[in-house]
């Protein structure tokens, strides 16, 4: 009898656990559905995070997040709209570049003629590194050469000695 009761309680606990799991799953599904139907609008911080990577197309070098004009306010609202539609930051940046040109981007995209800038930048960096290494090597080599010169005083002494002798000889011959 006791065994039967134990078996029953274990079974009922299993059913209860299963029902709880099912209820939790359903709750999860419905809560997700509810949040999808009523999404939170993008915050100002989210909008500005995208806006600071873009520049005002009609002002001089002013990032969109700090630009005070009405046009910039409209563009920030456009970013908010695109974010609320589920667009990614890259998609928004591409859209702005497509609409207003690459000048609205903080850095030129890696395409077309823009490659020249990146290649030239790399070339200049390589040249700068090579020149730097050579200058450092030369600076290190000079003291070594000076040391080498001081290591052989005998040769120099001998040379000057002969010069002195020659000069003395000429003076005496006068």
């Amino acid at each position: 009898m006791r065994d039967k009761l134990d078996t029953f309680s274990i079974k009922s606990f299993r059913y209860f656990a299963l029902a709880l799991l099912l209820a939790a799953s359903l709750l999860g599904i419905f809560s997700n559905r509810a949040s999808a139907q009523d999404p939170q609008p993008p915050s100002d911080d989210q909008v500005n995070a995208v806006a600071k990577e873009l520049y005002c197309p009609v002002c001089e070098n002013i990032p969109l997040d700090v630009c005070p004009t009405q046009a910039c306010a409209q563009w920030r609202e456009l970013i908010r709209l695109k974010l609320s539609q589920g667009w990614s930051e890259d998609q928004i940046r591409s859209y702005f570049a497509e609409q207003y040109g690459d000048r609205v981007l903080a850095a030129p995209p890696l395409q077309g003629f823009n490659w020249v800038f990146y290649v030239l930048l790399g070339v200049f960096v390589v040249i700068a590194v090579v020149v730097y290494i050579r200058v450092v090597r030369n600076l290190k080599a000079k003291p070594a050469a000076a040391d080498a010169a001081t290591v052989k005083p005998v040769e120099q002494d001998d040379y000057f000695k002969r010069m002195e002798e020659e000069l003395n000889r000429r003076e005496k011959s006068r």
């Binding site: 197309p57 004009t69 009405q70 046009a71 563009w75 609409q99 207003y100 030239l120 040249i127």
Partner: protein, 190 residues
């Protein structure tokens, strides 16, 4: 004595030739590329705007309703090309006059009005067009290609292109009356 002079010359020459050949070649290539880049930039800057009497290069504009308009399609007609933006307050001062002028000339078929929306957002641009009941073709200046071609200095600016496709008149700033628009267009139609 001669030998020592010879030796020092060789050492100096060796020091002078210390940079590898590929570095020198690379440096010169980079320098030439950089100069070429500056040259292209200067050429663009010095190209200047389209001047009166000059043939206007062909361009296309896709209007908000999805239709594509090419300037070359309007050969034989006077084209009134107006640059505007919804955020531009002076643009709204001339919007009604431009629409009225368009409605006057539309039945004749000799004049076409095109509105180029400069660096604007589509929802606001469409609201602006609805507000002033503008019916002539209007579209965004994608990548600001058209405005760069004309080198506009601001909005509003209006360019009048004659029947031969040459720039005939430029109006910087808003029109103050319908008569002002008509005076230019009628002058070109005669």
């Amino acid at each position: 004595m001669d030998q020592s002079v010879d030796h020092s010359t060789k050492t100096a020459t060796a020091e002078r030739r210390s940079l590898p050949a590929w570095v020198v070649v690379l440096a010169f290539a980079a320098l030439i590329a950089f100069l070429a880049l500056i040259g292209v930039g200067l050429r663009r800057v010095q190209a200047g705007p389209i001047v009166i009497g000059q043939q206007v290069p062909d361009f296309s504009m896709t209007s908000f309703d999805g239709q594509t308009h090419h300037l070359s399609d309007f050969k034989g007609k006077v084209v009134v090309l107006n640059f505007w933006a919804s955020w531009c307050a002076p643009c709204s001062q001339e919007a009604a006059e431009l629409e009225e002028a368009w409605r006057n000339y539309q039945p004749g078929g000799e004049v076409i009005f095109l509105g180029v929306d400069y660096t604007d957002t589509e929802p606001e641009a469409l609201s602006y067009l609805a507000k002033f009941d503008i019916t002539y073709p209007n579209g965004p200046d994608l990548r600001t290609r058209i405005s760069q071609m004309f080198r506009i200095t601001g909005v509003p600016e209006t360019y009048f292109i004659d029947q031969e496709g040459k720039l005939a008149y430029v109006k910087k700033g808003p029109f103050t009356s319908l008569a002002e628009i008509q005076a230019v267009v009628d002058g070109l139609l005669q």
